[in-house]
Amino acid sequence: MTVPAVLFYAFAALAVLSAIGMVVQVRNTVASAMSLVITMVALAGIYVLLEAHLVAVIQIMVYGGAIVVLFLFVVMLLNLRSDDFGPARQRLVRLAAAAIGVFALTWMLRLFSGLPEAPPLPEGFGGYREVGIALYTDYVLLVEVASLLLTAAIVGALILAKRKID
């Protein structure tokens, strides 16, 4: 049991537990958001273990630092301190169905089919230099389209959230 493996299982457990915590937290929306942050950070840790360093850093910055913060902004703005809408209809049924779903999925993925261990890594894999080269040579179109998408989202969000001008 090497150190990376132990770390992986630790981070995995953390991610799962905080994810469950996020879903289960009914009383406090802010607590849900905090659980989500913990999940993101745990996942970032796993990315590092999987040699995706740039992506891990970006995950922390964007997800943890921007997206969840945005969630918290909205929660604060709408004064949703504590809410209790009660259970959704037929919650148990849905829960059961979802549980069945996950078991079905994992079974389908054949968790223990025995794929081989990871192969050796080429030099510079996952580093900012290699990812940057890939982004701006092979996938430059993708980058441009993503920027367009972000622009559209900004405009959309502005218009949606704006107060009516009287």
């Binding site: 959704a88 209809r89 849905r94 169905a97 979802a98 779903g101 079905a104 999925l105 389908m108």
Partner: protein, 674 residues
């Protein structure tokens, strides 16, 4: 086989009347404006006159060719289906051989005379001034169909003409359709014809199927005739009446069913007397001269088939003879001038089939021609009488007309002389030939056939002279008002009568029997036989000259007896028929009511069929099954499914939708990753 030469004139013979009919139809139906009468007359009569002239021209060119030659005129392939062994080709091709040329001359010639007559007869039809044009439209359409029938090169074209004349018969019988009875008579004619047409179609199918199975699929007459030997010995297993039947017998019987319908033989004759509801020119053209002779033409065209089918030929001969006798007895007691002539037509058609069944095809065609002359003459003269009597058709209200309308009287007398078989008018020669054919036939019981023919000749003479005496002799029994207005009709009505009278007198010349020709020193005197002989199977019969003279004398004797009895009953001692009718009440009633055949058909066939159609087909299947279950039921089912089932899917709850999406995704993934 036969040498054929092409003649592009042939296509114009049926095409001219069709063009006139189309013009009239367009003017009436699309343009809807009244056409000036002179234009209608010029177009209709002109096109039929043109067809007649063309018929004469092609007849002359055909006569100039050696024996057995035909003229053909092919246009295009009308129906072409299949390849190889299973091909079905119906060409649009006209064939003029000796038989068709005779028929074409009769159809166009007599048709032209009747068109001219109709100008005067329909002149008082001022209802909306389109009645006149509509009449000529239908007449032209009929002429076209009849010409297609006789000129068609194959069974499909003949059937086209067959159906076309049936349609025009319906249109023309019910011409004055505002009187529902006339429309009913038209429908009756069409429906009874359809029953016959079913037999005709089955015959075509059987014939084509047999030829196709023998490797020569065709519907052309020439090719059928050439390949006929392939199927003439085929048999089919029989459900009754022996272990098996010959296929050609079956085919001949099926075609004869069609002929029974079209040519009004037992048991499908019931439409012809009711067809007298139509205008008199219609009765003359369609129900005396042309349409009803289509059956005789068909049998003659397929003479090679009937020659090889003794059972079918025997049935044809016997049905013809019995029909002749049956109809003649009914005619004795009728009191409507047109009904007497209608039953007379049925009777004379029976004679033609009697001849055809006894292999006397030339005799049948000869009688067809002479009958066209004198029956059309009689009908048109009767029309003249009806017009003079202001549309009165009951002979009990007529009388003494011979002094007032002497022209009509003269031509009617000539017609009666012809139909009774008094020499030297045409009817004598044609009837004599039929009786000779019956005497020498190989049909079982042919001597009885001869006897029936002879007796029916006597009855024919009797009822025709009865009609003549009652209408034209004695004192007028009409009301004073009508009597004052009896006038001869204008020349446009009367002149065609004189032409037909001349033809009825002289028409016998084309069929002058050889036995008299020998006596008079004329070689090959029977022109018609010489002209048509190559087409029909040769029948050798040698009758001693003395037998032939004796038969002729017997026929003349029967005719004379009929004349005598009629004179006795209706001129010398008019109280005799009244006492006879009173004494023989039941037979008289039976004859007067036409043996109650119509009532029998109504009770046995028509009413049950109507009831069945109403209860089962209409209420059960149409309204109940198709409307209720299929149409309305489907709608109700869909509505129920949507209203009670599908709508609950649109719950508006996002989470239900999410749930359903998950289920769907899991299902698809499960299917793909299994």
């Amino acid at each position: 086989m036969v040498n054929e030469s092409s003649d592009p004139l042939l296509r114009w013979i049926p095409l001219l009347p069709l063009l006139a009919a189309i013009f009239h139809g367009v003017m009436i139906g699309v343009v809807r404006r009244a056409t000036p009468r002179w234009l209608v007359i010029a177009l209709s009569c002109g096109t039929v006159a043109g067809s007649f002239l063309l018929s004469c021209v092609v007849f002359a060119s055909l006569a100039g060719l050696p024996d057995g030659a035909t003229l053909v005129d092919g246009l295009y392939t009308w129906i072409g289906a299949g390849v190889g062994e299973l091909r079905f080709n119906a060409e649009l091709r006209f064939r003029l051989d000796a038989l068709s040329s005779v028929m074409t001359l009769v159809v166009t010639g007599v048709g032209l005379l009747i068109h001219v007559y109709s100008i005067g007869y329909m002149d008082d039809d001022h209802r909306d001034d389109k009645g006149f044009q509509r009449f000529f439209c239908y007449l032209n359409l009929f002429t076209f169909s009849m010409l297609m029938l006789v000129l068609g090169d194959n069974l499909v074209l003949m059937f086209l003409g067959w159906e076309g004349v049936g349609l025009c018969s319906y249109l023309l019988i019910g011409f004055w359709y505002s009187d529902r009875f006339n429309a009913y008579c038209g429908s009756k004619a069409f429906i009874v014809n359809r029953i016959g047409d079913f037999g005709f179609l089955v015959g075509i199918f059987l014939l084509f199927g047999a030829l196709a199975s023998a490797g020569a699929p065709t519907v052309d007459f020439a090719e059928i005739r050439a390949s006929f030997g392939l199927i003439s010995e085929m048999t089919v297993p029989a459900p009754f009446w022996g272990p098996e039947w010959r296929l050609v017998d079956l085919i001949g019987l099926c075609f004869f069913v069609g002929a029974c319908g079209k040519s009004a033989q037992l048991p499908l004759y019931v439409w012809l007397p009711d067809a007298m509801a139509g205008p008199t020119p219609v009765s003359a053209l369609i129900h005396a001269a042309t349409m009803v002779t289509a059956g005789v033409y068909m049998v003659s065209r397929l003479s090679f088939l009937y020659a090889a089918a003794p059972v079918a030929s025997a049935v044809v001969a016997w049905v013809g003879a019995l029909t002749a006798l049956f109809a003649a007895t009914i005619a004795i007691a009728q009191t409507d001038i047109k009904k007497v002539l209608a039953y007379s037509t049925v009777s004379q058609l029976g004679y033609m089939f009697l001849a055809a069944g006894c292999a006397g095809y030339t005799g049948a065609v000869f009688h067809l021609v002479t009958h066209a002359f004198f029956k059309a003459l009689l009908f048109l003269a009767a029309g003249s009488v009806i017009l003079a009597m202001h549309h009165e058709q009951d002979i009990r209200k007529m009388g003494g007309l011979r002094r007032r309308i002497w022209q009509t009287h003269a031509v009617f007398l000539i017609g009666v002389l012809a139909i009774s078989g008094i020499p030297p008018l045409s009817g004598f020669f044609s009837k004599d030939e039929i009786l000779v054919a019956a005497w020498t036939a190989h049909v079982p019981g042919h001597l009885w056939l001869y006897a029936i023919g002879l007796v029916t000749a006597g009855i024919t003479s009797f009822y025709m002279w009865r009609l003549y005496f009652v209408v034209f002799w004695g004192e007028s029994r009409a009301s004073h008002h009508v009597r004052e207005q009896i006038r001869e009709q204008p020349p446009v009505v009367v002149n065609p009568l004189w032409v037909l009278a001349a033809l009825a007198c002289l028409g016998g010349a084309i069929g002058f029997p050889q036995v008299y020709g020998d006596a008079l020193g004329i070689e090959r005197s029977h022109s018609l036989n010489n002209f048509l002989g190559g087409l029909f199977p040769v029948v050798e019969h040698h009758l001693a000259h003395s037998t032939e003279y004796a038969m002729a004398l017997a026929a003349i004797g029967m005719a004379g007896a009929g004349f005598g009895i009629a004179y006795l009953c209706y001129v010398a001692r008019p109280e005799l028929p009244v006492r006879a009718a009173a004494a023989l009440k039941v037979p008289y009633q039976l004859l007067l009511e036409k043996y109650y055949v119509d009532e029998l058909y109504d009770a046995l066939i028509v009413r049950p069929l109507v009831k069945l159609s109403d209860v089962v087909l209409f209420r059960g299947i149409d309204a109940g099954l198709i409307d209720g279950v299929a149409v309305n039921g489907t709608a109700r089912g869909v509505r129920g499914l949507a209203a009670h089932g599908l709508k609950y899917l649109q719950s508006g709850f996002t989470q239900s939708y999410v749930f359903l999406m998950i289920v769907g995704a899991v299902a698809i993934l499960g299917y793909l990753l299994r």
